[in-house]
Structures are given as C-alpha cells and as structure tokens.
Amino acid sequence: MRQRWPFLIIAFFLFSLTLLASLSVGAKPVPFETVFLTFTSFDTNDYAHAIVWYQRWPRALIAVYVGAVMACAGCVLQGLTRNPLSSPTTLGINSGAAMFVVIASFVFGMNEQAQGYMALAGALFGFFSCLLVVRLVGLSQDPRRLVLILSGALIGMLYLSAANALLLSDPELRSNFLGWLTGNLNHAYAGRLFDYWWIGASALALLFGLARPLTLIVIGEEKAASAGVNVVFVCSLAFMAVAVSAGSAVAICGPLGFVGLIVPHIVRPFVGTSFIFSLPACAVTGATACLLADFVARFAFAPYVVHTGVILDLVGGLVFAWIVKRYYLARNAGSWT
C-alpha cells in the first residue's frame, strides 16, 4: 500500500481544514483570526467569540466524536463479520440504543445521564438481538452472510418503530426527541458529549491496541488462533467496545446513520485491510465526513438548517446501493473474502 502515508497525511490535512471551516463559516462568518483568538484569549463580551465557543466548537466536537467512533465501529464490524454491509446502523446497534433512550425517558422518566447509560445497554441489546435472529435463521449456510444484514435491518426497523410508537404517546416530550431520533448534531447536546466522551475514547484506544490480533481474525478464526490469538476473548472485547462506543454516540446526538458504513469503504483502498492503519484512517476520515455532512446540513437549504442525520441517510442510502451492486449483484462481484 504505497498510498498509505500520503492518504493519512491528506486525510489529516482535510480534517483540519474542515474543522477550521466549520468554526469559521456560518450564518455569521467569523474570520480565522477571531477563531484563533477565541481559543487563546476568550472575550466574554465578543459576540463572535461566543458563537464559536458556545455553538460551533461544541457542535464540531460532537461531529468529530460521532464520526470517529462510528467509522471505527463500522470498520471493525465489517472486518470481523467479513461483510461489506456491516455497520452500527445495519446490525441493530444504533436502533437498540435509540429505543432504550426513548424507553428510559418515556416509560421510566429517567434523567439525561441515566438515559445515556441506557443507550449503552440498548446498543448491546440491539447487537445481541441481531445475533440471536441470525442464530435462529442459521448463518452457516450463507457464504456471503446476507442473513446477518437482513436480521440487522429487521431489528433496526422493529426497534425504531417501537421508539416511534412511544414518541406518539406523549406529544409534549415528543418534540425533544423528534430531531434527536433522526440523528442531529446540535450544540445543545454538548453536555452529553462532556459526560460520555471518555467511553468512545477508551473504546477506540482498546480497538487500536487490538489492531493486530483483530486483523489476524479477519483472515480466519482458526488461522488467528494458531498464530497465538485468543479469538473468543479478542472478539468479545472488540464487539463490546464497538457496541458501547456507538451507543455513547447515539446517546449524544441520536442514531446518526451510515458514517460507519461508508467511511471504511472510502479508506480501505488507500490504506489496506490491516486495522493498524485502517482504524486511525477511519477515525480521521469519519470525523471529516461528519463535519462535511454537518456543513451541508447547515447550508444546503439555508436559511433552514436540516438535521445532519437526514443528509447522512441520503448519502448513505446511495452508497448502500452501490455496495450491494459491487459486492452482490455484479457479474464478477468484488471478492470480499
């Protein structure tokens, strides 16, 4: 992979550029200089400083967090399940987390922090229910593991409609969740980022640490075990990290779809399959993708602001169709395994 380092450098450059742009560009443009001054010498009376510090910076941080976490989660899921369509969205993780948050709020009236921890539990619940369906149907017969994705889609629809049904029950609470449920980057959620960032950070650190054994598992469980990997232990840790970190992202800004599906496909041709490089590349590119989507959401229909989740769903749907065409429908479909 000769393009590996150039890709990483360009990806990081683009990331810095998008981050800076998302702080500077907006309904009220703030010059780069003022953006820097906000961080070096914050002036409470300066309106521009306030916009950057209280609105754009938290919003950008949320985008970075969600993008990095979801992209890495998708990358690990696609590798371990050997399925190009795997992602937190398509394996029931996001919808499980969303449903648990809505249940926590509507049924048990829990506060925001408790809702967040319910999201983590819900993410694991969603993932395990997806695996359970797969088990009931029988995965082993299908070399391309379509059953896994179909089960994930089924679980996703089921849990999101359960969440929606609950939303209908309480018109007053509903308005708080309507935007959140489509995936919404909003500076109002900064407090939640402050509460949960350490979850995603430690999950990513764990996944980076497991990069080598995880890559070995991609070439075969028995091969990995014979090379010295404790496959069950490493897989359990990785799946936990993926579900919990994706759950924390859902807790912050709702089930933001498809970053986890798209980004690994962008990254892999440049940096290869090895998680040692694909995980950092996914983290940076995922963050950039989320910042860009947020950019589009803010400007495409100005003066109206669309939810970032809507933009990502639109793009994601198209990419999903492309992946299906490339890996499943084409006459000489790209080999995945």
């Binding site: 640490g209 028995e222 290869g272 080999s335």
Partner: protein
C-alpha cells in the same frame, strides 16, 4: 520436535470424531494422514491445535501436555494451515506475511529486524519475493497457495500442521505445492504433518503415513511398509493393486464396471 497423541477421544458436541486415537509423529519427517471422508483426519489436527476439546487421553509436545500450553506459547512451536482461510480485499502479501510473527511480538510492538528477515526468507522459499507489494487477491490460485505456505513458514515454528493444502489445485500445482511442503522438512528441518486426500500424493511425498478409519489409526509407519493392499482394503474398502515403481509406491484401484457400476 516430538509430537505424540495418546488414546485421544474427541468430539464435536455429541458426535464423537476421534475414538481413542494414538499416533507418534517422528521429528524432522513429513507424515501424511490419510483415510476416507469423515474418518477424523482434519479433526486430529484441530484437536492438536485445541479447537476440538480432548475428552480423554493426552497430546504431548516435547513431553508437555499441549492443553496446558498458552496460545501464544503454542504458536511459537506449532504452525497450522487450516482448510479455510480468507484473503480480504486490499491486503498485500507483505502485510499478510507480517501477521505470522504475532506470537513473537510484544503486545504493542511489531516485527523486529529478525522477523523481517524471516518474512523475506519465507517469501523467497516459495518464490514470491517480487510480489510482496501485490494484493493477495490479485495472485493466481497457485501463487495464493504458496502465499499461505509462506505464512506458515514465517511463523518460524518447529512443527507444521497442514489441512489438505492441495485441495482445489490442479495437478501441476498439487505437485508444486507438495514439493514446497517437502522442502519444509528437507531444507528447513521442520516436522510436518499434512492431511491428504490422495493416497498416491501421500506415497509420493511423505516419509511416514498414518491411515485413519472411524477415528482410529489403523496402520502407521514408513510409506513403503504401510501402504499395501490389505491396509488399503481395510481403510478405504477398496480393492487396489499396490506396487512400487521407480522406488515410489503407487496405488491403483481395481475397477470392475460390471460388478460395482460406475463409481
């Protein structure tokens, strides 16, 4: 590297696969395991690797019970080529080979100078030195099989277990691949145990052969002493002519269409 399997009983769930199997694998020799479908050939390798639990009996590696060994410690002594493995898109041959040294790396470290040398030697041994930057999926079938053998070689273990390494290869590549396997003992001094489907391939390349049936070893020993008419009949239920030609055992089943119908 002495490997000894003593009266091992092993089962997948409720299906017993090995029924008190005993076998000795002589160090520095190439041993072929042959037998009819479902006789426990692959299971024997998987049991040695600890993928199938041993219910009774013991497997000894240099006087140590294999089940008491930790995965990484075992990987430093035993390399295994499973029947099924995957080559993901966008993985280069060089990256694949570098995975082999995992058991020697520290938890957060990577390959050392010595490891890099081993990887180069492994690729050179299978004649793929020039293709380290090529994607594994862009290799031909025969090259791919050589890549997997290089992976086993790069693990730098004394004992090498291979589960049907020449399946799905045409005749030319079957012989070329088994010549490489032969080199593992002849040139690299490794102890090799290989599961083969074809008795004639086993006869052509192996030093020793172990013939399995119904989870037990029916016959074992040097190829010339073990592959004979009565053993072939006992193990495969086939009446075959077995003769030596140019110092190589050949097994030719008698085929009588009017008696048995098309096989």
């Amino acid at each position: 590297m002495a490997l000894e399997v003593v009266e091992v009983l092993a089962a997948y769930g409720r299906v017993t696969a090995l029924r008190g199997l005993s076998a000795r694998f002589a160090p520095g020799r190439l041993t072929a395991i042959v037998g009819p479908n479902g006789c426990g050939k692959s299971t024997l390798l998987k049991t040695i690797m600890g993928f199938v639990p041993v219910l009774k009996g013991e497997i000894w590696l240099n006087g140590r019970a294999i089940r008491s060994m930790e995965r990484r410690a075992l990987a430093r002594q035993v390399a295994y080529l499973p029947q099924q493995h995957y080559s993901p898109d966008y993985m280069t041959l060089g990256e694949l080979i570098a995975l082999a040294g995992y058991a020697r790396y520290s938890y957060f470290g990577g390959p050392t100078e010595r490891d890099q040398g081993l990887f180069r030697d492994a690729l050179a041994a299978v004649g793929l030195s020039d293709l380290a930057h090529r994607q594994v999926n862009a290799l031909s079938g025969g090259q791919k099989q050589r890549a997997w053998i290089a992976l086993v070689l790069a693990q730098d273990a004394e004992l090498v277990l291979m589960d049907e390494p020449v399946n799905h290869l045409d005749m030319k590549y079957q012989y070329a691949t088994l010549e490489l396997v032969r080199d593992l003992t002849a040139k690299h001094g490794k102890t090799v145990v290989v599961v083969l489907h074809d008795l004639n391939l086993a006869a052509a390349f192996a030093d020793d052969v172990i013939m399995l049936r119904d989870g037990r070893a029916v016959a074992s020993g040097p190829v010339t002493d073990t592959i004979n008419r009565s053993n072939v009949a006992d193990v495969f239920d086939v009446d075959a002519e077995v003769y030596s030609r140019n110092g190589r055992m050949v097994c030719l089943p008698r085929y009588a269409p009017e008696q048995s119908g098309p096989a």
